[in-house]
Symmetry: C2
Subunit: 129 residues, 2 copies
DNA sequence: CCGCATCCTGTCGGATACTG
DNA sequence: CAGTATCCGACAGGATGCGG
């Protein structure tokens, strides 16, 4: 049973729940940054990844990577050497998500001015608070 | 030449911060659902919107709508009558975001099976927990 | 070097009661 | 009906220390 051609944005309750779940995950503050940091790279070590993302604690990076690994978006490869050497890379699935998310990036970049102006207008009209 | 100039998805530090901000907002559990509930409609009343989204508390719906209004994504129209009648509708900016977000929806719908299978595999390999 | 466990704090978000 | 205010539990997420 192949997925039918989804040219339009048709939302079913089932999908809504799943999308809600996935969306909640990709937006947990670090996931998208990690995906972005892995995009276009072959394999990135944990430390390098942490520097690349910037500002992420080791705890959250680990957690984020585990989730991504669980969802099949990132592959984790442990080199059995000492000191430990662990590398991460995007799977095909992960890259496809990165591509999909790219449209949001583009939208944001394209509409920064509009959003900021709307905020200024809104905040300006509410001086008291 | 440090970064290989990828054709479409070029990310600058400035944009990254902005996108981080916007992304954090569109993913705050309700925003996308609200946008989706408003998409294709002309004007929706508060109560109708609440039913349409489903499961959202009145507090969070109000908060979400205020943020969307502030960012210029949603227009709020108050009818000066009693009982109060407040209607919301997407602005052009809001609709454009909805269109951009659609690609994520499509991706999710298109990859539900892959993600779920990856999760089952991952969880299956970790029986203890 | 990588990752886990623990502690601690701020924020998110639901339930409820009240106002216009 | 629409919105605000308050209380409260749950959890995200940072800092630190240990272990392999």
């Amino acid at each position: 049973m192949d997925a039918p051609n989804v040219s339009t944005c048709v939302i079913t309750p089932e999908r809504e729940a799943l999308v809600r779940d996935i969306l909640g995950r990709i937006a947990d503050k670090w996931t998208l940054l990690v995906i972005d940091a892995l995009e276009g790279e072959d394999a990135v070590r944990f430390s390098a990844l942490r520097q690349r993302v910037g500002g992420v604690s080791q705890k959250m990076l680990t957690k984020t990577l585990r989730q991504l690994e669980r969802d099949g978006l990132v592959a984790r490869h442990v080199h059995p050497v000492v000191p430990p050497r662990v590398e991460y890379r995007l799977t095909a699935l992960g890259e496809s998500l990165g591509a999909a998310v790219c449209s949001i990036w583009v939208w944001a970049g394209d509409n920064i001015a509009s959003v900021e102006e709307a905020r200024r207008t809104y905040d300006g009209g509410m001086p008291g608070k």
